[in-house]
């Protein structure tokens, strides 16, 4: 029952599923892989030498190179205009591409039209499994690398990933190109095994097959596609072996089985395999080592400068003519009633939204014009008012993503098994663990972020932001949901960070805490900066009292 062809189909089915896995790990749903595979299959058969001329293996080797290059090239061509699309839109756009490829091949006489092209059979089970092993190795090494974590972060929360300094566009395109190359490999192996390639082999149903295999296997662990392909290839085999009569009953059973797996195994088949979480050996022994360290602006150096900044949302002025300067080492408190424009201001400074008019300059970048990840790279790190953690990643992994900017890329060296990659990873882990300990989450490193309590999530946000070794740390309501002792220790933490040379912008409703922590306070009301000064000055400022009494008194809101 495990005949040669079954073995080959498990292997190349898994390779095809890996081409979906490659983008699913980054949260992209693409259905264009059938198109890449078609281009690779027809391209390599047409352009490559025949096995009669150069021998079986060389011919296959050359075909694989051609096919993977064609697949990768096609993915660039498709990726450039579509990379900004998300979710289902990307899926449909890529599907349209694949169908267009298929129709073009059908209409092309030189490629045999519907009758297809005859191809010599070269692929054996051994070849197919070696190819699968190489692909699986690639994704195995990719997973826990800096690159792999960045992709996982993009999958979990693209915006937060951006704010952690990850160049989302580039990472997504890279994942897409990987997918194209792997799909190309599949196309070539398919062609050199089945003896006849026809456009119908690469239709919508084929793409769906690949996607189903990847999802059933599990798209968070590298072994998933292999499990998925093994499972789905064996279903008809087992049905035959068990003696279910050929006909409509079999698809009914396979459909039900597929439903059961999808509904009851959220992580796919790979969820049977326990995930090993790497923990740092010790947090104290190693110093920063190869981690990049930043020179923070000295006290008095300009960190943030806003001049005449206005932000409109559909006619509503969220900010009006704000002028603001923050210099190195300051702890700035930003307060104001709900809807005063605090979060808008923070989004402007971190580059998430562009201003409608006025100038914004932060650490030498122009947020709004400079991409978010470059603003982050300049040293801006932030937490979010509504927690934007990477829910399915552990607390430690969240912080590791935060350390993206200060750690070195490790994927390439992990592929080659270089010791330096291991050392770098160890140092990043130790750094992340230190950040976790600093906010008091050292014990919860293994817990998935989504499973943490609200207060712990706030703290994890801070640890993640801290891991980037920022010069300007923006904390958007970090104390929300904390009790007084917790808020006090947060206050102490902020103080100690300032001592390390960080500039801090703290948005908080807990006015008491702001007063205690900050060196200078800004008050926003209806988008305008109505007061700025030391805590003592602010308390006595009539405009502030007016603003606060005009809405709810602040004491009620501080818990």
């Amino acid at each position: 029952m495990l005949g040669d062809s079954t073995l080959v189909f498990i292997a190349i089915g898994a390779i095809f599923a890996f081409s979906f896995y490659a983008v699913l790990v980054a949260g992209q749903l693409s259905l264009g892989q059938a198109g890449f595979a078609a281009i690779a299959a027809f391209g390599s058969v047409t352009l490559g030498p025949s096995p009669d001329q150069v021998g079986d293996l060389p011919a296959l080797g050359i075909a694989i190179v051609i096919g993977m290059l064609l697949g990768a090239a096609a993915s660039v061509v498709l990726g450039l205009p579509t990379m900004r699309l998300r979710g289902v839109f990307l899926a449909i756009a890529t599907l349209a591409f694949a169908e267009a490829v298929r129709i073009l091949i059908v209409n092309s006489e030189s490629l045999g039209g519907a009758g297809g092209l005859a191809v010599p059979k070269v692929v054996t089970p051994a070849i197919a499994w070696v190819a699968l092993a190489v692909v699986a190795y690639w994704f195995w090494r990719q997973g826990p690398s800096r690159y792999g974590r960045a992709l996982a972060a993009i999958r979990e929360d693209e915006l937060a990933a951006r704010a952690m300094g990850i160049d989302v566009g580039r990472h997504r395109l890279q994942a897409f190109i990987t997918s194209g190359a792997v799909a190309g490999l599949y196309g070539v192996l398919w062609a050199y095994f089945v003896r006849l390639i026809a456009p119908e082999d690469f239709d919508f149903a084929a793409a769906i097959d690949g996607l189903v295999t990847a999802v059933v296997g599990g798209s968070t662990l590298f072994i998933g596609p292999v499990l998925g392909s093994g499972f789905l290839t064996m279903v008809p085999e087992v049905q035959r072996a068990v003696g279910i009569e050929a006909g409509w009953l079999r698809p009914v059973l396979s459909g039900v089985l597929l439903l059961v797996v999808i509904l009851f195994l959220p992580g796919g088949l790979a969820s049977f395999i326990p995930r090993r979480l790497r923990m740092p050996a010790s947090t104290e022994s190693e110093t920063h080592g190869t981690l990049t360290t930043r020179t923070h602006p000295r006290p008095g150096d300009q960190v943030v400068r806003l001049h005449g900044v206005t932000k409109e949302y559909a006619g509503v002025h969220a900010l009006r003519g704000v002028d603001l300067e923050i210099s190195g080492g300051e702890i700035i408190g930003l307060i104001g009633p709900n809807g005063a424009g605090k979060t808008t201001l923070v989004n402007l400074i971190s580059g998430l939204v562009p201003s409608s008019s006025g100038e914004v300059e932060v650490l030498g970048t122009r947020p709004g014009r400079t991409p978010v990840h470059r603003v982050a790279a300049a040293g801006v790190s932030r937490t979010f008012q509504h927690s934007k953690l990477f829910g399915r990643l552990s607390a430690l992994e969240n912080v590791l993503v935060g350390a993206h900017l200060v750690s070195r890329p490790t994927f390439g060296r992990r592929l080659l098994w270089l010791p330096s990659a291991r050392r770098d990873e160890r140092q990043a882990l130790a750094h992340a663990a230190r950040c976790l300990q600093r906010v008091g989450l050292g014990e919860k490193a293994r817990v998935p972020a989504a499973a943490l309590s609200y207060g712990d999530q706030r703290r994890l946000e801070i640890a993640r932001a801290l891991a980037a070794d920022p010069s300007l740390l923006i904390l958007d309501e970090p104390a929300a949901g904390m009790n007084q002792p917790e808020a006090d220790s947060l206050s102490d933490l902020i103080g100690s960070l300032a001592d390390d040379g960080l500039t801090i912008l703290l948005i908080e409703h807990n006015v008491g805490m702001v007063m205690r922590t900050c060196s200078r306070i800004l008050v926003l009301d209806f988008g305008e900066l109505i007061a700025t000064g030391s805590p003592a000055e602010i308390v006595d400022n009539p405009a502030v009292i007016e603003a606060y009494l005009g809405s709810a008194p602040d004491e009620e809101r501080s818990r």
Binding site: D4, S5, P236, E237, A241, G247
Partner: protein, 389 residues
């Protein structure tokens, strides 16, 4: 908990695999398929295992189903006749998927089948039949019409006429009958069967000196032909020549008549299906169908087949069923030739098929292992196929 689950899964998988190993059934290798006597007196103790790889589900599901009906009926007839040789038919579904086609063929080769019938589609045939060739198992194709099927090796035979054996005489007969000068050709271009049919149509039309005013293509799963028919009607043709499957034939023919196109419609093997009259009704009148099987033939074999089929399945057979039925007649003759169900003996027998009476008429297999018998040009008259003369 999770650990228990993992252990359970591994155990289950191991069990399944073990079950599979013990399953592979032998047969045919230890000489029990060699019988005594010869020809009609041949007697073999063990039933001769016959494998059929058909598309029972998926896109080609309706053909596979027809073929299964034809095969099962034929095997039942042969076994009931109790003439010394019996057959054990194993029908497998290739799901209209090349992967399954290849796997099923491999299963038959490893499983000891004496001869393999199928597969349903030509493209699958190119992918799967070489496995039988390498494994030394004779294959009898029953619906593949593409060129090159039997060139894959000396174990590959077929009982289905190629388009080249059917269409030229269809075109010639229709041209003569209707004085065709100017036609519109329509075919589905994403299907190997209909595309190869189109090639032959185009060549034959050129041969006969008929002008092709326009060639229109459609997708194999297309059912709305109005835009194409409007386009075709604009050419004011003497006939529509269509290479399509029955799924396309019914909507195409009915929509053409609705659109007021009353010229003859000429089709190939794909149209040779009683469903055309059943579903298209009056619209099917005057449709000319060139085909490998003359359903109106009054040969004893055919009359008996028609009656038995209708009796068993409640509807009339189509060409796929007839060619499948004939396959078992041919295989039975081949087995009796050396009175053996051994693979090479069956191959030898198939090479010696000459003027065997079947539902398709008197059938011979030529040196290229292709079938030869009379093709027929039919026309739909009063809801039935009649021979066009």
């Amino acid at each position: 908990m999770r650990k228990t689950l993992t252990v359970a899964t591994v155990a289950a998988m191991a069990l399944t695999l073990a079950a599979c190993d013990s399953e592979s059934s032998g047969g045919g290798t230890d000489g029990e398929l060699v019988g005594e006597g010869s020809g009609a007196d041949c007697s073999i103790d063990a039933p001769v295992p016959v494998g059929a790889a058909l598309s029972l589900t998926g896109g080609a599901g309706s053909y596979g189903e027809s073929q299964r009906n034809g095969l099962e009926l034929a095997v039942a007839h042969l076994n009931d006749a109790d003439t010394g040789v019996s057959y054990e038919l194993r029908v497998e579904d290739d799901q209209t998927d090349p992967r399954q086609g290849i796997t099923v063929f491999e299963g038959f080769v490893d499983g000891g089948e004496s001869v393999i019938i199928g597969p349903t589609l030509s493209n699958t045939a190119f992918q799967a039949q070489p496995i039988a060739q390498e494994g030394g198992v004779p294959v009898l194709a029953i619906s593949n019409t593409a060129d090159g099927i039997t060139e894959q090796g000396d174990f590959i035979f077929r009982d289905s006429l190629t388009e080249g054996q059917v269409i030229p005489q269809t075109v010639a007969a229709a041209t003569e009958k209707y004085g065709l000068e100017n036609v519109v050709v329509m075919y589905s271009n994403d299907d190997a069967f209909t595309e190869s049919g189109y090639q032959v149509f185009a060549d034959s039309l050129e041969e006969e000196g008929v002008q092709v005013a326009d060639t229109l293509t459609f997708s194999v799963d297309e059912t709305d032909f109005r835009p194409l028919l409007t386009e075709a009607a604009g050419q004011d043709p003497d006939a529509l020549v269509v290479s399509g499957l029955i799924e396309a034939a019914i909507p195409l023919v009915t929509q053409a008549r609705e659109a007021g196109i009353d010229v003859p419609i000429i089709g190939g093997n794909g149209f040779n299906n009683p469903q055309l009259m059943a579903d298209a009704g009056d619209a099917a009148e005057g449709v000319v169908v060139g085909a490998a099987w003359n359903s109106a033939s009054d040969s004893p074999e055919n009359t008996e087949f028609l009656a038995a089929f209708e009796d068993e399945y409640g509807h009339q057979p189509d060409q796929f069923a007839a060619q499948a039925y004939a396959a078992m007649t041919i295989i039975d003759t081949a087995v009796r030739h050396s009175c053996s169900g051994e693979r090479t003996d069956v191959q030898d027998g198939l090479n010696n098929i000459s003027e065997v009476p079947t539902v398709l008429g008197s059938v011979s297999i030529n040196a290229d292992r292709d079938v030869e018998h009379e093709a027929v040009v039919q026309i739909v008259e009063d809801g039935e196929f009649a021979v066009l003369d």
